[in-house]
């Protein structure tokens, strides 16, 4: 099967720095909304790093620095009734789906007001109303789970489409294979976004798979595939919009490989000793998705520099407010640990044995 490279990365032909594709149906206000989501994602993560330095984050901090456009652009192409299941590096998609930064801050800080009440970390939660189903740490597992979401939506006569994000590492799991194979057999409207950010923890792609392009794997399931420039937010939007139309129309699953680059380590503790010298700096200087989006908006006269600064200031205000809210939350009551394994009306919460009491 042919892999579409219509939106694949292009080298700069005129020596000018990279921008975004101009072939788009997005309206100027939508482009500014995309820009806002990109900035929000990056600045929420920067705040999380600061909170971690102040020892306010209990677990690890996971960055999507340098690859925010893939999550933001793709999720933006979905409708309100559609679902996403992100990876740890898809905070941008979660925010696009309407999750507020305050939920993210409270969750990272293990607070009672966080969406899991302190029971789980980072973006490991969900909001069915908003079409967000959080991942678990086990890579690949969410592909089979999303087949169930879409099977159910079909039974309920809903025209739902879903994105499941996966990476160059996660695609090595058995669950990925079982999930996409089943989705293909059932012709489910699943968009698999394969984020090729070149490292799975420390392992480079050539030790993960023998294919050059992750998109090649789709042929094994008779699933059409495209390659997109994952650092071009407009291209990510356009390619996903087409995939969503195809899937919603009954065409079955689609796989999109987004070529991008992970500029930070697996988590903030990772010193990235395995990365060749100069590589990160090259991507930072030449292919940053937010720089590219800014350049595009200015080139296309969608916004002035002042307008972009205004958006950034607004994002910072939101972060300030939400962070303060999350910090004001208490930690969970210790005894809450015993509740909620089952429906508490049927099975009471679990406590310590009687013999240790009194």
């Amino acid at each position: 099967m042919r892999i579409s490279t219509k939106f694949a990365p292009r080298k700069s032909t005129d020596g000018q720095p990279l921008s975004c594709i101009t072939e788009t149906t997005l309206k100027p206000e939508q482009m500014l909304e995309l820009y806002r989501h990109l900035k929000l994602t990056r600045l929420v993560e920067e705040r999380l790093v600061n909170l971690a330095k102040q020892s306010k984050v209990v677990g690890g901090v996971f960055r999507s620095l340098g690859q925010e456009a893939t999550a933001v652009g793709s999720a933006y192409a979905l409708g309100p009734g559609d679902f996403i299941t992100p990876l740890i590096r898809d905070l941008g998609a979660v925010l696009v789906k309407g999750i507020r930064p305050r939920e993210i801050f409270a969750q990272y800080m293990a607070k009672a007001w966080g969406p899991s009440g302190g029971r789980d970390l980072n973006i490991h939660f969900g909001d069915m109303e908003k079409g967000f189903i959080g991942p678990i740490s086990h890579l690949g597992d969410m592909i089979p789970v999303m087949t169930g979401v879409l099977l159910a939506a079909g039974m309920q006569k809903k025209k739902t489409v879903a994105i499941a994000y996966i990476g160059d590492g996660g695609m090595s799991t058995g669950a990925f294979h079982e999930g996409i194979n089943f989705a293909a057999v059932q012709k489910l409207p699943l968009i698999v976004i394969a984020e090729h950010n070149q490292y799975a923890y420390s392992t480079p792609t050539n030790l993960q798979t023998a294919v050059n392009d992750l998109a090649e794997k789709a042929a094994g399931y008779a699933v059409p595939a495209s390659i997109v420039d994952g650092n071009d937010v407009i291209a990510c939007y356009e390619v996903t919009k087409r995939a969503a139309e195809f899937a919603r129309g009954g065409g079955g699953p689609v796989l999109i490989e987004a070529k991008t680059y992970r500029r930070r380590g697996h988590a903030e503790h990772d010193d990235q000793r395995y990365v060749p010298a100069g590589e990160i700096e090259w991507w930072e200087k030449n292919n940053d998705p937010i720089d590219r989006c800014e350049r595009y908006l200015l080139e296309q006269n969608v916004a002035t520099k002042e307008k972009l600064e205004e958006i950034t200031a607004d994002v910072l205000r939101e972060i300030e407010e939400d962070c303060a809210w999350a910090e004001s939350s208490p930690m969970p009551e210790a005894e809450q640990a015993a509740y909620g394994v089952f429906d508490n009306d049927i099975v009471p919460p679990s406590f310590r044995p009687e013999v240790l009491k009194n």
Partner: protein, 342 residues
């Protein structure tokens, strides 16, 4: 020369109640729940036109269509994952493992997704994971498993295993109606056992999850067991009665959460306990039950709690080997006599 006859395809709706074997009881239960609740669906390998390897889902596809009886690839991760995802959307999967041995291929999603979802973010997964378990049928290391111990240490999974046709139907219906994930083990040796054929009520009933059954009342010692071993225990109890020993048999029916009050009531009555199960002894459910008794009824015991279980090997194929592996009635008799004389 014998003429090959094609097996008649039994697609008819099962009777509501009436005489039923254990397998017919399960089929009745699933069928009735699918009629009652349009959100219930069946998913698994060969569950559609073929009706499942053991025919538990026979005829469902003709009645409910392939939209509600879904044949899958050989992909336990896909089966469990799909059941979980559908559960998030409010649909209730009755997912089949062709043999419970293959549950290992769905272990990750069962223990990490299904079990933890409610606790992590309040999203309960109403799904049933069922399939044929059990040894004693000469099926060797990969078609004979009793898998309960793999899941007992995972919070968030309910586990049931019936030993009568009545309970089989009542428990499958309760499992389907339960808001949380339930693993439903079906001992394949009991599926068509004539001894278990019984008259089921015609009315809609369930057997509550979490409640053990007093399979036989006695005063002298308690055998706590479940599944096919209930029959072994009852056989032994009959022989022991002739020797003047009055044995009580508790059929757990639910393995998680265990019926602690039910177990402890029997212990306090007989003061001598044997825990009997098919799975290997080390790390088996017998250890958990013995520990509960030690913690909560220590002063009621007149003898140590005895565990009688299979030896710590895979399940062997050849009849003499498998019979050696599995506790037999004679083993129960010997152990009961020693326990009574302690």
């Amino acid at each position: 020369m014998a003429t090959a006859t094609k097996k008649e395809h039994k697609s008819a709706r099962p009777e509501r109640g009436g005489q039923a074997t254990l397998i017919e009881a399960i089929r009745q239960g699933i069928w009735e729940e699918m009629e009652r609740d349009p959100t219930v669906f069946v998913i698994g390998e060969d569950v559609g036109a073929y009706g499942g390897a053991f025919k538990v889902t026979d005829g469902l596809i003709d009645e409910f269509g392939k939209g509600r009886v879904i044949d899958t690839p050989i992909s336990e991760a896909a089966i469990v994952g799909a059941a979980c995802g559908a559960g998030l959307m409010g649909m209730k999967a009755v997912a089949e493992f062709q043999f419970i041995d293959f549950i290992s291929a769905g272990f990750d999603l069962l223990t990490n997704y299904a079990a933890k979802s409610r606790y992590r973010w309040g999203a309960n997964i109403p799904a049933v994971f069922r399939g044929p378990c059990g040894s004693g049928v000469r099926s060797g290391p990969f078609h004979s498993l009793n898998a309960e111990s793999f899941f007992l240490n995972t919070a968030g999974l309910k586990i049931v295993e019936p030993s009568t046709a009545y309970d089989a139907k009542g428990l499958i219906k309760a499992a389907i109606r339960d808001p949380d994930p339930v693993i439903y083990f079906e001992h394949k040796k009991l599926y068509r056992l004539p001894r278990l054929r019984e008259e089921l009520p015609a009315d809609d009933y369930i057997v509550e999850i979490g409640k053990a059954r007093l399979a036989r009342e006695g005063r002298d010692l308690s055998i706590i067991t479940f599944g096919a071993m209930v029959l072994t225990a009852l056989d032994a109890a009959e022989d022991l009665e002739k020797e003047g020993l009055d044995v009580e048999v508790i059929d757990l029916r639910t393995l998680a959460p265990l019926d602690r009050p039910g177990i402890l009531a029997s212990v306090k009555k007989t003061n001598r306990v044997m825990v009997l199960h098919e799975a290997s002894r080390t790390g088996g459910i017998g250890g958990e039950i013995a520990a509960i008794i030690a913690e909560e009824a220590f002063e009621w015991l007149d003898a140590p709690v005895v565990r009688l279980a299979s030896i710590d090997t895979p399940v062997p194929y050849s009849p003499p080997l498998e019979d050696y592996y599995l506790p037999q009635t004679k083993d129960v008799l010997e152990a009961a006599r020693k326990l009574a004389a302690y």
